[in-house]
């Protein structure tokens, strides 16, 4: 067990910077999720920990040891791939046993460890099958068993659930979390799925275009996104971002002809601004006759318990309103007025996109 530290890590592929000056600490026993859209550098960051990519700059340490020049096999990490990367010519037993054989662990010990890992993942009855005879979920579990069997210092998981169907994904998600908590092995988990990240991670590191945006526990990420990228990426749908002019010494922001009142705690900060971007979650918006911002309904999505009303304001900003299914539903093309509920608003600098902290 060990912590993993990225210190100023950079990776360039020819002219493309895949990871840009990444500094991040994964605590001992923590499950940290690397989250971001495809091409954001999260997988590259993971592969550098595994030793499959060389660093262009900075250092990576596992435990007390800088591993920049350490061979993958000597890093004491285990990796689970999106494609599972099982050895197709070997039985399930031999697949799980493979890392143990490479370490010359004696036979009786090997058998004990394989049996243990197989039991943990419910693979006992499948040990003599070949990977081709298994379902996707079973292959996934073999890949996990192969990772846990030699008790590595760090688990590296590269979108391990992406190839599973939705039901199995939810179930396996919970299984991985349970397993990780029981073994309390430091885990770096890469995904592009923010629901997966929110439900699994002790903390989430959000990346975009190779740059780390924010590292925080899931709820903090949701409530206090560091910038407009995180605000829009986290949450389904993401946070609405309305840009306008700050008015009345920070009392309100005028957006698309309407006015959004700011809560008390944000007024002093808003008073220093001329332009401001207001971030507001879809559940903190309502459609009603007394709303201040005018918009036109473009799509109405029914999701069973809730409805997403997707609208466009007069200045062209996309605004999503989440409402309960019982409320009257607007029709497509209808003019509506939108108001905010409660004071769960976030303020961003419209130029830099950074969140503006409340000034007490």
């Amino acid at each position: 067990m060990a912590q993993v530290i990225f210190d100023g890590v950079t990776k360039r592929f020819d002219d493309v910077v895949a990871v840009d000056d990444l500094s991040l600490k994964v605590a001992d026993g923590e499950l940290l999720v690397l989250l971001g859209p495809s091409g954001c550098g999260k997988t590259t960051a993971l592969r550098m920990v595994a030793g499959l990519e060389m660093l262009s700059g900075g250092t990576i340490s596992i435990g007390e040891r800088v591993v920049n020049d350490v061979e993958p096999k000597n890093r004491d990490v285990a990796m689970v791939f999106q494609s599972y990367a099982l050895y197709p010519h070997l039985s399930v037993r031999r697949n799980i046993e493979f890392p143990l054989r490479q370490r010359q662990i004696e036979k009786s010990e090997r058998q004990r460890l394989v049996a243990e890992a197989a039991e943990t993942l419910g693979l006992d009855s499948l040990l003599d099958r070949k990977p081709a005879q298994l379902s996707g979920g079973q292959r996934q579990r073999v890949a996990l068993a192969r990772a846990i069997v030699r008790s590595p210092q760090v688990f590296l998981m590269d979108e391990p659930l992406s190839n599973l169907d939705a039901t199995l994904r939810v179930q396996t998600r919970a299984d991985i979390v349970t397993m990780q908590q029981r073994l309390s092995t430091t885990t770096l988990y890469v995904t592009h799925d923010q629901v997966e990240a929110m439900t699994m991670g002790d903390r989430i590191a959000v990346m975009n275009t190779g740059v780390l945006q924010q590292v925080a526990p899931p709820q903090t990420l949701y409530e206090e996104p560091a910038n407009t990228f995180v605000a829009g990426f986290i949450g389904s749908p993401g946070m609405n971002l309305l840009t306008g002019r700050a008015e009345g010494a920070g009392a309100s922001v005028t957006v698309s002809g309407g006015s959004i009142a700011l809560p008390e705690r944000l007024r002093r900060a808003a008073a220093t601004l001329t332009g401001a971007t207001v971030g507001v979650r879809p559940e903190s918006l309502a459609i009603g006759p007394d709303g201040s911002v005018g918009a036109t309904v473009s799509i109405v999505e029914l999701l069973g318990a809730e409805v997403h009303v997707i609208t466009r304001t007069d200045d062209g900003t996309r605004v999503v309103v989440r409402q309960e299914v019982g409320r009257p539903r607007p029709r497509i093309g209808e003019r509506v007025r939108i108001s905010t509920i409660g004071d769960a608003l976030t303020l961003f600098d419209p130029d830099t996109g950074q969140r503006i902290a409340a000034i007490p």
Binding site: K73, M79, A85, P131
Partner: protein, 303 residues
């Protein structure tokens, strides 16, 4: 009633479609019939007729007598032994060298494409040109060997011991291009992630190659083995150009395919040639069948 009519119409539509398909196949079938199927059948008939030792006289039916006569002859067994030796030299060395080159070229390096082109170039080289070049290299006066101080007597290509291996060298060189291409394609089908997983699991480069790459390549290796064997069984050009029937070492280099040619063109004995052709056909058929069975068992590899 109406459903019956519909079914009837359906059947006639299918029949028309089938008819059209056969119509399209007809030109190809006609060519095959004239140039492959008819000669193939005729070959079996020829094997049953013996030609008198004097050309011009009519051949007569002898049943299987000629077949057993040929198969028990010394010339045949000597030819078969030479052929087997030849194949055993060409195929394993050709496969191994092709694999070694493919592994060497299977990297993302600047300019690697040039090497790939060079390695695969022997596949498009004419055997006549290759034979002349190798013949010159092996020449006892102006060749490479005297220059290296090696001068076997009799000369390499007339030497009963060394003539067959010398021809094998040319065939290996010729097979190398194909072997390289097959192996390269095989290597590309081995997923990078499986090798990466093995690296993380603690396998050294050597272990990764023998425990992961080679097993995953086994269908490819077997395919190359069969193709290489068929190629080796049919190596003819270099023998015809560099050895020929007047050569002192001829009887040691008289592999089956050359023996067939020799029987027909020099001895004017179509019966003998037909029997030998059938033997070669059966060998090739067996190899191909073995390969198909093997592939059927192994293609179920999934990631």
């Amino acid at each position: 009633m109406s459903s019956v009519q519909v079914a009837g119409r359906h059947t006639s539509a299918r029949a028309r479609e089938a008819l059209f398909a056969y119509l399209l196949l007809l030109p190809a079938l006609a060519v095959f019939a004239v140039f492959v199927f008819y000669p193939f059948a005729e070959n079996f008939k020829l094997a049953l007729y013996e030609n008198p030792p004097f050309p011009g006289l009519p051949s007569h039916y002898v049943g299987l007598h000629q077949v057993s006569h040929v198969l028990t002859s010394t010339a045949f067994s000597q030819s078969l032994v030479s052929t087997i030796f030849f194949v055993l030299m060409v195929v394993p060395i050709g496969l191994f060298a092709g694999l070694a080159l493919a592994v060497a070229a299977h990297r993302r390096l600047r300019g690697i494409a040039v090497y790939r082109l060079i390695f695969s170039s022997s596949i498009v080289s004419s055997i006549a040109v290759a034979a002349v070049i190798f013949g010159t290299l092996m020449d006892p006066v102006v060749g490479l060997l005297p220059w290296l101080g090696i001068n076997p007597h009799p000369a390499l290509l007339e030497n009963p011991t060394w003539a067959l291996p010398a021809i094998a060298v040319i065939s290996i060189w010729q097979f190398l291009g194909l072997s390289f291409i097959i192996m390269s394609a095989g290597l590309q089908s081995v997923p990078d992630e499986i090798l990466e997983a093995a690296a993380i699991d603690g396998a050294s480069a050597w272990t990764r190659f023998w425990r992961v790459t080679v097993p995953l390549l086994s269908p490819t290796l077997f395919f190359a083995l069969v193709v290489g064997s068929i190629f080796a069984f049919q190596s003819f050009g270099a023998i015809d150009i560099l050895i020929g029937p007047q050569n002192a070492a001829f009887e040691h280099v008289n592999v089956l395919i050359y023996y067939i040619y020799q029987a027909l063109q020099v001895q004017s004995d179509p019966g003998l040639a037909a029997v030998l052709s059938i033997v070669l056909f059966l060998i090739t058929l067996t190899l191909t069948a073995a390969q198909l069975r093997f592939l059927e068992r192994r293609v179920t590899y999934a990631r």
